[in-house]
Symmetry: C2
Subunit: 759 residues, 2 copies
């Protein structure tokens, strides 16, 4: 059967309302009597709050509430480290930390009132350099010390591995923090109703984890809180569980009898948003002459800023995930996470993978050069394969990495471009590539990575899907609707996916760890099949026939052998209710993948599937200005099966752009711990004029654990961008850049150093 | 185990927000950009619409839309008779019918614009007298004639029954139409979103039947519509499936790209609201000397107004329901429903039962007198009993009627008061009583009367109930929460019942036919038990123990034999998710009672249970003014088991008041088919000063088909009021009033006639 929906490049089911400008984001919502909140933030990276005088602010006409750290619950909230109050209490730990909140009848009044709050700070020495944070005498971010987390993993015999190596290469790489750069800065509307229940509409990737966060921070039971997800304009990891402004808005709504709206400006979003975790990675690898990796030793220093959040989990990924991409035995990883007096860093698309991908792929390229091998061949030589179990216990059910490498090298004309002459004037071109892997799902949020989908089929034969696996723009709703349409035999336009709502949706973890397609998709397949079975059983009863050759097509239940056995789908769906023992078709299915929690030694098959990607790029380096221009990019993603090729290409291209921005343009600037370029003019994300045509391709490795063969396609594609560009720059000008971002200054400095060395 | 919740008079779970004035009724809702609608109504009972000029209205600044019958879907909607357009097309059939609608930026502008619409009517002769409506030459309401429905039922040998009778009594009773008199006139807010889906917040008793109505009237699939029920301020039957203003509001929202709010004024609600079905009942009964009913012959003429709606079903109830209260064999019922050019009448608390209850109980009292029997004894003599099958095939699983009769007669000191001297001055006192039965559920909305409840237990061990069995003030949510608390072993305050929402709730029929307690209650019992089992199974896994003596109490799962086996409920509920194969506790249960559709001859056990009630009243009649004052009232309701005695008393007392209003005070006045007293000053509902202390008692007959013994308690109590008062008046002054309402004029006329007869 050729599918009319599955695998087809259909437009997103959420597209119409977005194109019409009618999608309702959290900041668009209005409620009668709604008040507006604004936050006063610390100007200091580290200071003691000596006193706060809110009297003048509170007296301003229109101001309904002014609160400070004195008014918030005593209990602290956090992912694992419970260390944050709703507003700063006693001390501020980063410039931008929320010190007071004003609620007023308009945003303008609230903003004016902020100026009337008098805070007396006693400035304290700040810890701003992660490398120095563990030194004796360093200012402490938290009384228990600046070490937030430490991970040590060792497998095989690393020393023996290095002894067996023909070549050993060691280098230190540094990667910087990236702003998530979603279109929609954080916005929240919160209101407590007459029964004392709190409803929070907020820009989130996961309503249930948001509910848990609010419950913890506000010190009240989860059941007293309802979280609804309006349309979300991107998350990229920052809207999972670390976001603070929504917590503050929720708190404020409990203090006034009216709804409270809190929308961050872009600057505020920069000051408090969840950036990616910067780190330095000392990587040492040994290889045999023929390119087999014999040993790998990694030392990581990651910086989480003032609060740990998800950074320990991010660092764990940096420390070990890429090991699973290759068939290696001897690895050692020592990683330390340190606090600094800067804004908290944490989850970000790729979740720690981009950091190590830069180091590993740069390293592979260097070592390939030393061995006189093509780096693509070196990747192939070491690549893990379908059916392998990786060094950390991951079962590779499908691996399309070789095909990804094939696709991108062919597309960019790899061999031809690598071999051409380089000394051709001030503009030099080079090609580079990188390979990467990611999880599809991850059993680390607790010993469960399942997904539950509720499917209702209405009396008109159309369907409604209830889930809290949220669509944040990546296409989750379209994926679910396509699977449902395919399995149920109804048109895509007959399916509605409800907005996530903790009151009505089943418990789900939401959009993180590239888990939605593989987990919710599997639940959706099962739910649709159950509903289909129910419909066909009702049809058997209604038509008084045998079920064996009934099918659903063209809006009707019909026999494939007897054209008289026919009933419009709505008729059967009505009959499903209106009969003895009937009811509405309303199926609930949970799919929990057959994975394992990592053990204490971080060993275990944590995900039902693993995605792979490769990227090849061509760059042009202006040796006079140091400017790097991306000439071509080819990205190939092994997503198992493309439920919707349009969505996969969208993810691939978006990820490629985000990687380009991180590598070449985005550069967060601090002064005394304060963000100096917190706006989209000075924090230069890649715009259309900086980009060539984005090319992406898809490898379908047909994952056996995936829904109809699919696995995740949201994050893998961001991983290879930075090292592919760095490798291409090296190919072009022979300068190896090991610290991101790759600025013209670094290019010129590299060229100068190279000339000096040659001189 | 003594329950701390079940059977206890706990306040309604909806009380807090109502008492605080924070409950959100449909009319309270506001959406950004919301527009306001107003309706132009026909001033004529019957007219042809010659032309409508909307140009001036449309040109008024602020007016966004003016529509007439020319703009509405061609398809007609209706319950069984599809005869209504969204707005009148070509012809108006009652004064008040909606002819045009204006949508504007404010209610005032919309109202002003109505005045600018020029409608040219050609007035036509109207059919206003139901008794003449079938006469040749009567103006026709619909081209197919004025007979809307006809029912003929005959059981046993009625003629032989009359032949065997020692006495036969025949009388014609007339009952009038009652305004439902809810606190909240109809209000609707409707908005179409960017995906073309229409959301309707409306005051309804049943969101799913409302959705079906909108879909039919707007000629679009049900799945493109979402209906949400805000807090509802009473329905009394009028907000089931006949309501028109919500249809118009829904339609208007599809014609403008902004939300539309339509709230009826009290006058409009009178003009278009769903009143009860007036009828005349010719009742003939035969009895043996010892009071056994040998035959019964009924002829009914009911008036449905301009459109049939649910009136055919109402008339069916009038025609046969009360037969089932008594052990009789020979009955004949001929009922005809006629159209008139008046507003549509239909469902109303008691659903046709009040009409016949007045006739039957008046009759029983008269015949008891003739036989020299106490009417209470006569009722007892004929009462159906637990285990009986009634003449129409109803299985009486529980019958507390004898106990009801005992309670009310004892409470009012029946024997003592009946025997006292009457001639004691101008103020005469008398006592009267009546008995009644009602269904609990009814398999006539389609061959299904089931109910589905979804129960989620959150990670904090608290529960959320999703259902569309709506609370319209009667206490459905409290009933469900009490059953859930009881069965799950958690406090009532830990349970939230979601507002009905067709997108997220399971398919349900809603609040009608006193079906919610018995059907949703049964589903709730099962759902709570399933959830409890799931919790205990998870506890067994977590505590590694045997399940047999685990229980849930005091917020924990604990062993009754081993105090070490103990875990807080939240811990187990979290564990239910976070484990291999886990998920949130989310149970869905449907209960469909073991009942039958009536056959073509109206025979069959349509309800899982039947409720009974009796009422005794004492009145004081001022023989000089004709004024009747209620001195005492005792009402006893056999609701099987009172899940919440406070709710049952609330229903009994509310019903008693509504019956008093109907009997003595409320009196709808027409002039040329126009309502002349459509306001609460002139349409005099019973107020506190007109009422004595309301006394009610409960009989618990423990219905085997009911949830924990319960059956419906919403409607039965309205049935005996009118005849009890009429019988008491007769006891006081010897005047038999057979036509409602019992006005002072009728009393004085009766007294005069009596004096003349005695003279």
């Amino acid at each position: 059967m050729t599918s009319s929906v599955l695998g087809q490049p259909v437009p997103q089911v959420t597209a119409q309302e977005k194109v019409l400008g009618r999608a309702q984001y959290s900041g668009d919502l209005k409620l009668p009597g709604m008040l507006h909140a604004k936050l006063l933030r610390s100007p200091h990276a580290h200071a003691r709050i000596v006193s706060i005088d809110t009297a003048q602010a509170a007296a301003l006409p229109g101001v309904k509430l002014v609160v400070t750290g004195q008014d918030v619950p005593e209990r602290c909230w956090g992912v694992k480290h419970k260390q944050q109050h709703v507003l700063a209490v006693g001390e501020v730990r980063f410039a931008g930390e929320e010190v007071a909140a004003v609620v007023a009848t308009s945003e303008d009044i609230a903003r004016d009132a902020l100026d009337l709050i008098r805070v007396e700070y006693e400035e304290l020495p700040a810890c701003l350099d992660p490398a120095a944070s563990l030194n004796e005498g360093s200012p402490l971010v938290h009384p228990e010390g600046n070490l937030a987390d430490e991970i040590n993993i060792s497998r095989g015999d690393v020393d023996a591995g290095f002894a067996a190596a023909d070549i050993v290469h060691e280098e230190t790489y540094k990667v910087h923090s990236q702003y998530p750069g979603y279109m929609e800065p954080m916005a929240t509307l919160a209101a407590e109703d007459g029964n004392g229940r709190l409803t929070v509409w907020t820009s989130t990737q996961t309503v249930f984890l948001a509910r848990a966060r609010f419950a913890e921070a506000l010190d009240r039971p989860v059941s007293t809180i309802r979280v609804i997800q309006p349309t979300v304009g991107g998350g990229f990891g920052a809207k999972i569980v670390e976001e603070r402004s929504s917590v503050i808005a929720a708190f404020l709504a409990t203090k006034v009898d009216r709804p409270v709206r809190l929308c961050l400006s872009r600057l505020e979003d920069f000051q408090s948003g969840c950036f990616s975790v910067p780190c330095s990675i000392k990587l040492k690898m040994g290889m045999t002459r023929d390119g087999r990796i014999t040993a790998k030793d990694v030392q990581i220093l990651s910086e989480c800023g003032a609060y740990a959040g998800l950074a320990p989990e991010v660092m764990l990924v940096t420390a070990m995930r890429s090991d699973n991409m290759q068939k290696i035995e001897n690895v050692r990883s020592c990683a330390r996470l340190v606090y600094t007096h800067t804004m908290p860093r944490g989850a970000f698309r790729g979740f720690g993978g981009t950091q190590m991908s830069f180091a590993l792929n740069s390293h592979m390229s260097v070592m390939a050069d030393r061995l006189g091998m093509d780096p693509i061949d070196l990747h192939r030589r070491n690549a893990i394969k379908t059916g392998d179990v990786s060094v950390h216990g991951w079962n590779i059910g499908s691996c399309g990495l070789p095909e990804c490498l094939d696709q991108v090298s062919t597309a960019i004309r790899w061999t031809e471009k690598r071999s051409r002459a380089k000394d051709i004037g001030p503009l030099r071109r080079g090609v580079g590539m990188a390979a990467a892997m990611h999880v599809s799902g991850n059993r680390t949020m607790g010993n469960w990575d399942g997904s539950t989908v509720v499917l209702k089929v209405n009396e008109d034969g159309r369907a409604q899907i209830l889930t809290a696996e949220s669509d944040i723009g990546q296409g989750a709703n379209t994926m679910l609707a396509q699977i449902c349409a395919e399995e149920l035999g109804i048109p895509l336009s007959h399916i509605t996916v409800s907005a996530p709502d903790t009151d009505s949706a089943p418990y789900n973890l939401g959009s993180l760890a590239s888990r939605v397609t593989i987990n919710a998709g599997n639940a959706m397949v099962k739910a649709a099949r159950q509903a289909r079975t129910q419909i066909l059983e009702a049809a058997v009863q209604k038509l008084e026939c045998d079920a064996s050759d009934l099918t659903i097509a063209d809006g009707a239940v019909q026999s494939t052998s007897n054209s008289n056995l026919f009933a419009p789908l709505p008729e059967i769906c009505r009959f499903h209710i209106f009969r003895h023992g009937g009811d509405g078709i309303h199926v609930r299915v949970t799919h929990d993948p057959d994975t394992k929690m990592m053990d204490a030694d971080h060993y275990g098959n944590i995900a039902p599937a693993y995605s792979f990607a490769a990227q090849a790029v061509e760059v042009e380096v202006d040796t006079e200005t140091g400017r790097v221009r991306l000439v071509e990019t080819y990205l190939s993603d092994d997503c198992g099966r493309a439920i919707n090729p349009l969505s996969v290409h969208g993810q691939s291209n978006g990820a490629a752009v985000q990687a380009v921005g991180w590598t070449l343009y985005e550069n967060l600037q601090f002064e005394d711990g304060q963000v100096m370029n917190g706006n989209l003019a000075d924090y230069t994300m890649a715009t259309a004029d900086a980009l060539p045509t984005l090319n992406s391709d898809i490898v379908e490795s047909f994952e056996p654990n995936g829904p109809l063969g699919a696995k995740g396609a949201s994050e893998t594609a961001i991983l290879p961008g930075a090292p592919a560009i760095a490798n291409a720059i090296y190919d072009a000008i022979g300068v190896r850049i090991t610290e991101l971002p790759i600025t013209p200054e670094k290019i010129l400095a590299g060229l100068a150093a190279r000339e000096q060395a040659h001189a």
